[in-house]
C-alpha cells in the first residue's frame, strides 16, 4: 500500500527581548544559576506577572511576516502541571485566544498554513546529578512564541524546508536568535500516515526533543517507518496511539514518554492575574513595519543584479549570508564574482570546518578585496583559491597573502617575453617542429612559460605573446 505522510510542526521560539515575559529579570544566557530571578519568576507567594510589551511587539512582527491575523485582543491562560522547572506549577500561555492566527509560509511550490502563534513563558532547567537533581530558574519566564503549523507537509524534506524558511524569517525580522543548539529554536513534530487518497487524519504522534534540522529529518523518517511497519504488520491500532515520543539521536529512534492511559489534563483556565492583551492601532501600525523578508530580497537581487533565481535564493536564504553578499557588492565586487566566491568557495570551506557564515574568519570586506584582485587580474583565479585557503588560517590582508605566497600575476610584456625567450632557447628542437606545422605543441610552450613564471604570468598575455614570438 502507498502511504501519504502528514506532518505538522510546533516551533518554540525564544524571543530576544531584554527582559522576561512577566517580570523585569534579564534574559541573558550563561549567568550563574538562579541569578536572573525575582519573586515573580521564582513563584514566591504573592508575586504577580506583568506582560512585557516588547514580546507583544515581536509577536506582531511575526504575524506581519507570515501574513497572519494579529488579534487586537488576546488572552492568557494557565496550563497546570507539576514539574520542578515550572515554579508556579502552571505555565502562562495563550490557549483559548492566541495573539496571531491564520498565517502561512511559502516553501518550494507549496504554501504551508500557520494555524496560530501564541506567547507563553519558558520553563527553567533541571540539571540531573546521579543522586539528586538541581533546578536552575534563570530561563523560567523567558518569552516564547509557539508557532503552530497546520498538518500541511507531506515529507520530511518539506518539513525541513518549512523550518529553514521559518528560521530565516525569524532572523530577518530579528525577533529571535533562533539558535537550535542554545535552544532558542525548538521543534516538535506531529507525524501521522494515511493510505494515499484517504482524506481522513489518522493518529498523530508528537515527537519532542529534537535540536537540529538533521535530527528532525531523521526523527520524522524513523517515526514514519515505525507507523508504516505497524500498519503493514496489522498492529497499527496497538502500536500507534496519540502520545508524545522522545527522539534519541544516539540510537536514532523515538521512544514513548509515558504509558497510554496517562494522558495529561492541563486544566486550562483564564489567567486571572493578567488582563486581556490589547493592541492599539498605533502599536499595530508601528510594529507591522518589518524589514525586507527572504523572498522579497531574492526577488530584488534577481531584478537589480541580474542574477539567476537559484543564486538569488541561495544568497537570501539567511540574513547573515544576504548581508555578507550585500556588503561585497557595496564595496565594489561584481555580483557574479561575489556569488561564486561566497557560495561556492567560502561556504565550501566553512562547511568543511562546520562553521556558518557568522563564524567565518574572512569577513565580507576581505572576500570582496579577493574577488576584486581576481577581477582586475592582479591574481589568477587559481591563485585566488590558494589565497582563500591561506586566509582561512591566517588573519592577514589579501594583499599581504598574495605577497607572501608570491602569487602576484605578471602582466608586464617585457617580463613575459624574457621568460618566453628562455623557454624557446632551451627547446629549439620543439620550436622547429612547431614552425614545421606541429600546432599541437603550442600548449606545451604555454605550460612551460607558466611553469617558469610559477603560475604568476597572466595566461592571456602568455598566449598572445607566444603567438607573436613563434
Amino acid at each position: 500500500m502507498d502511504f501519504e505522510i502528514v506532518i505538522g510542526l510546533e516551533v518554540h521560539v525564544q524571543l530576544n527581548t531584554e527582559t522576561k515575559l512577566f517580570c523585569s529579570c534579564p534574559t541573558s544566557f550563561n549567568e550563574r544559576e538562579n541569578s536572573n530571578t525575582c519573586p515573580t519568576c521564582l513563584a514566591l507567594p504573592g508575586a504577580l506577572p506583568v506582560i512585557n510589551r516588547e514580546a507583544v511587539h515581536k509577536a506582531i512582527q511575526l504575524g506581519t511576516a507570515i501574513d497572519a491575523t494579529v488579534n487586537k485582543h488576546s488572552k492568557f491562560d494557565r496550563k497546570n502541571y507539576f514539574y520542578p522547572d515550572s515554579p508556579s506549577a502552571y505555565q502562562i500561555s495563550q490557549f483559548y485566544q492566541p495573539i496571531v492566527e491564520n498565517g502561512y509560509i511559502d516553501i518550494e511550490g507549496k504554501r504551508v498554513r500557520v494555524a496560530r502563534a501564541h506567547l507563553e513563558a519558558d520553563a527553567g532547567k533541571n540539571i540531573h546529578e546521579p543522586n539528586y537533581s538541581k533546578v536552575d530558574l534563570n530561563r523560567a519566564g523567558t518569552p516564547l512564541l509557539e508557532i503552530v503549523s497546520e498538518p500541511d507537509m507531506r515529507s520530511s524534506d518539506e518539513a525541513i524546508e518549512y523550518l529553514k524558511k521559518l528560521h530565516s524569517i525569524l532572523r530577518y525580522i530579528d525577533i529571535s536568535d533562533a539558535n537550535m543548539q542554545e535552544g532558542s529554536f525548538r521543534c516538535d513534530a506531529n507525524v501521522s500516515i494515511r493510505p494515499k487518497g484517504d482524506e481522513k487524519l489518522y493518529t498523530r504522534v508528537e515527537i519532542k526533543n529534537i535540536n537540529s534540522f538533521r535530527f528532525i529529518q531523521k526523527a520524522i523518517d524513523y517515526e514514519v517507518e515505525r507507523q508504516v511497519e505497524a500498519w503493514e504488520d496489522g498492529v497499527y491500532e496497538d502500536e500507534v496511539w496519540q502520545e508524545t515520543r522522545l527522539y534519541d539521536a544516539n540510537k536514532n529512534e523515538t521512544r514513548s514518554m509515558r504509558g497510554k492511559e496517562e494522558a495529561a489534563d492541563y486544566r486550562y483556565f483564564p489567567e486571572p492575574d493578567l488582563l486581556e492583551v490589547e493592541i492599539s492601532d498605533e502599536a499595530l501600525e508601528r510594529y507591522s513595519k518589518i524589514p525586507e523578508l527572504p523572498d522579497q530580497k531574492a526577488e530584488r537581487f534577481q531584478n537589480e543584479l541580474k542574477i539567476s533565481e537559484y543564486d538569488a535564493k541561495v544568497i537570501s536564504s539567511s540574513i547573515e549570508l544576504a548581508h555578507y553578499f550585500e556588503d561585497m557588492i557595496l564595496h565594489g565586487a561584481s555580483a557574479k564574482g561575489s556569488i561564486t566566491w561566497l557560495t561556492v568557495e567560502l561556504l565550501g570551506r566553512l562547511n568543511k570546518q562546520n562553521l556558518d557564515i557568522s563564524q567565518s574568519p574572512i569577513d565580507s570586506k576581505k572576500l570582496c578585496s579577493l574577488v576584486k584582485a581576481i577581477e582586475d587580474k592582479t591574481i589568477s583565479g587559481k591563485a585566488g583559491k590558494d589565497v582563500l585557503d591561506y586566509l582561512m588560517e591566517n588573519d592577514i590582508s589579501v594583499d599581504d597573502a598574495v605577497e607572501k605566497l608570491g602569487l602576484k600575476q605578471v602582466n608586464d610584456d617585457g617580463a613575459i617575453i624574457s621568460i618566453i625567450d628562455e623557454v624557446m632557447n632551451s627547446n629549439m628542437d620543439k620550436v622547429e617542429q612547431y614552425r614545421g606545422g606541429k600546432d599541437k605543441l603550442f600548449g606545451f610552450f604555454v605550460g612551460q612559460v607558466m611553469k617558469a613564471s610559477r603560475g604568476s604570468a597572466n595566461p592571456n598575455k602568455v598566449n598572445e605573446l607566444l603567438k607573436e614570438k613563434l
Binding site: 519573586p39 521564582l42 513563584a43 514566591l44 507567594p45 504573592g46 508575586a47 504577580l48 506577572p49 506583568v50 506582560i51 494557565r78 497546570n80 507539576f82 520542578p84 515554579p87 508556579s88 506549577a89 502552571y90 537533581s133 533546578v135 489534563d265 486544566r267 486550562y268 483556565f269 486571572p272 492575574d273 493578567l274 488582563l275
Partner: protein
Amino acid sequence: MTKSLIAIFTLVFVGKIRFRKLLRILDLITLKEAMKLPKEELVDFKKDLKKKIDEKKELNAYVGLEESGDGVPILVKDNIQVKDWSVTSGSGILQGYISPYDATVITNMRESGLSPFGRANMDEFAMGSSTESSFYGKTLNAHDSERVPGGSSGGSAAAVGAGVAIASLGSDTGGSIRQPAAFNGVVGLKPTYGRVSRYGLGAYGSSLDQIGPIAQNVEDTAILYDIISGYDSKDSTSAEMEYHPTAPNLNRDFKYRIAVIDNYIKDASPEIQKAYENTINLLQKMGHTIVHKNMTDAKYDISAYYITAMAEASSNLARYDGVRYGTRVSGENLKDTFIKSRSAGFGDEVKRRILIGNFVLSSGYYDAYYVKAQKVRYLIKQKYDEIFRDADMILSPVSPTLPFKFGEKKDPLQMYLSDIYTISVNLAGLPAISLPVEWSGGLPIGLQLIGKAFDEQTILNGAYGLESALN
C-alpha cells in the same frame, strides 16, 4: 477581669453604651490619633501595646510579634508579604518561609509613617469563615471566648475588637474582612477589585481577592484605606485611574438612595433581621431614601463563588510543592515528594478545596462548572448594575447569624452557607463596608453597605453618617 471592665460589659449588655466608647475606656487610641503622636510617645505606646497583647495571649489574634520600622503599628494578616518576616498564610506548608519582599500595601504604609507590627491569625490560605482552619490554632472572638472571631481575617478583626491593635490589614475573597469585622464589632472595608494592589498578597482566588483595612471606626478605616490604595504597575489587575482620598472628604450629612434586598433577609436569624429593620428605620429617620429591590437567589452566588475560588485556588496553591521553600517531605521519587510534602503541609479544608478546584477545571467538566460559573458571575454583575441605576448603595446583612460557637459548623457546606451575604460582592468586584450597628446578648451585629465600583467614598460617607447616628 477588673472591676471597671465588668462594669463596662454590663453597660454594653444593657445597650447603654456603644463599643467605640468601650475602646476609649480601654485607652486604645485611634489610628488618626496615633498618627499625630510624637516619636517618643509612639515608642511608649508600642511598649504598652505589647504588654496588652501579652495580657490577652489567650485571644491568639497574633501569631507573630514581628516589628519592622518605627511608625504607627498596624497588624498585618499572615498572607501579606513583609520583607524578612516569616509569612505563612496560616499554613503548615509555609513554615520556615521568609519573605524577601514587601507587598505594595506595606510599601505604601511605610511611606505614610505606618509600620507592619505583628502577624494576624487567619484561616489557612484564607479558606474559611471562622479562623478555625489555621495552622496556629483558633483565635477567640473579642467578645465571647466560646465563639469564633469569623474568618478568614479572624486575627485581624479580633485584635482590633479586643483593643490590642489600633487597626489591621485583612484580605477579603468572599467576605473575609467584612464578616470577622461584624463578629468582633469593628469596621472593615472590602475595596473595589483593582483598587488596592494584590502584589504581595498570598493568592487564594485571584479574581476575587482584595486587601482592605479593619479599624475601630469609619474614619480610621478611610485613613488606612487611602494609604494602601492606588494604582500599582506590579499588579496588572490594578485599576489605572486617579485616586481621590476619601478620609479628608468624609461627609456624614449627604442623603442617599439606599437599596434593601427584600428577598435576601429571610435567610437571616431573628436577631439579624431585627437589627436590619432597626437600621432601615434609622436610615430613613436620618433622611435617606429606602428603595426596595430583589436579587437572584443567593444559592447561585454560592455555587459560582465556590467554583471560581476553588478553581483559582487549586492552581494558585500548586506552587507549594516543597521544591523551593516551605515544608518538604522527601519521598522515593519526585512525584512521591510532591504528594508527601503537600499531604503533610496542607490542612483538610485546603485539600478539600484543591480537590474540588481541580475537578471543576478538569477536561469534560470545565464547561459545566467553571464556564457556567463565569456566566453566573456576569449575571450577578448585571443585577447589581441594575440596582445601582436606582440607588447609591445597598444595605445588606454581613452574616446570616451572630458569631457561632467553635466547632458548631463541622459540615463544610454549612460553613460555606455562612457567606451568602458577602460573596456576590466579590463576584461583582464591588466595594462594601461592614460596620457594627447593634448588640445582641453581648455579641455585635454588623451590616454592610455595598457601593458602585470605585465609589468607596459614597459607602464610607453612608457608614460615617450611620455610625454618628448610632452614637
